[in-house]
Symmetry: C2
DNA sequence: TAAAAATGAACGAACGTTCGTTTTTATTTT
DNA sequence: AAAATAAAAACGAACGTTCGTTCATTTTTA
């Protein structure tokens, strides 16, 4: 065996992933300070001290998770796989795929909340540095190729698109199961996207 | 003195409010678990044990705060004070006032995040029960009186409006101070509302 | 066979809460 | 108005836990 093969992960790498998996689930479910290193070790199947062979502190573990387990890693492929002849079709497809990914992990957004509250978003910058170069081109291409867009700033388009997704997700959490949920349209995401798209697509008379 | 006067709060009530004030600031700034009862006592100007003469536990203190200090108590008056001849003017004014209130306390939104993460939104339903009857009529009146609205469902209008505010606030936290922030329009809220409004206002050709 | 990984006891610090006591407050009785 | 008094509030040391982290040691891996 001449070179190290990619398909045979080392034991250390396996354990590191097990720790991250255990930690992310506990953080999502209970929060940062309410999750102890002992719980993480137990769920990862190793002793307490073993964690520190892979992460030098609890905060470093959290930061690794914020980057490695960020929803964008699941959403990006969905975004790249989105199809559609018109911008509206394309983004509608992308939104549905992204939302499906988010909903499969209902507490995913909690990671972001923890980031905001416990760390005041201080890992946000490094996160954006990794995410932006991969996601932004999608919107740059969109802006260049489609003349029907009112929004010509790709950063603004990116921001508003994910803003819409976040906004839908949060208001769904708040209102979804309340009495107000009954007074909503049958397919709220459809209605949501309808509002969003008719702000993006230039009207015939403008 | 026949009856107890309202304008002479008892010492206990004064202290209770001092504790809530100290606690809400610390919770907003550092989060729930990262704030200790000792810190709260120090900021409130009394000894550690004194807190327990007014609140039986840390969680009960947080619950009292979530209700007494919720951002809507500050946003609602701003919303009712909003003016404007057209729907767009009215909501634009309302959004600016609400955002100004939120921004005057940059960590106000953290209370809601703590609610989501630490308490899984368990106070959300009762909160909506108190808020909805006061806010919804504003949007019901808007839907009835203004023919230029594409959105005729007042609940959907309410949801999308606050969703837009939340989405702006969050994406501003994430992107505001990053390199992407430099690539944004000068007045991002304006651009944000522009997208929102042109999804609400019916175009001339529709 | 040397390095990497895993172990679990131990450490000091910090946590929420309790408790016996003292001080302050508000009301009632002189 | 002053004194008496019972309740409310404040005190801060102390308790029992739990926390994140360290470390000397053993086991496993490459």
């Amino acid at each position: 065996m001449p070179v190290k093969e990619k398909d045979t992960p080392t034991k250390g790498e396996t354990t590191r992933l097990a720790i991250e998996d255990a930690a992310v689930n506990l953080f999502m479910e209970h929060g940062y300070h309410a999750t102890s290193m002992r719980q993480i070790a137990e769920h990862a199947g190793l002793a307490l001290g073993g964690i520190y062979n892979h992460f030098s502190s609890k905060e470093e573990l959290f930061e690794a998770i914020i980057i490695d387990k960020h929803p964008y890693k699941r959403v990006l492929p969905a975004l790249l796989a989105a199809q559609g002849d018109t911008v509206e079709d394309f983004l509608r497809s992308a939104a549905r795929l992204a939302l499906a990914e988010l909903k499969s992990q209902p507490y995913y957004m909690n990671l972001m909340f923890i980031e905001f509250v416990e760390f005041k978003g201080k890992h946000g910058a490094s996160m954006l540095l990794e995410i932006a170069p991969k996601v932004l081109p999608v919107f740059e291409k969109l802006v260049k190729g489609r003349k029907e867009l009112r929004i010509t700033n790709p950063v603004m388009l990116l921001r508003s698109f994910f803003g819409m997704l976040i906004s839908f997700f949060l208001t769904d959490m708040i209102m979804g199961n309340s009495h107000l949920g009954k007074l909503m349209p049958k397919d709220p995401l459809d209605a949501y996207m309808d509002i969003y798209f008719h702000g993006i697509i230039r009207g015939k008379d403008e």
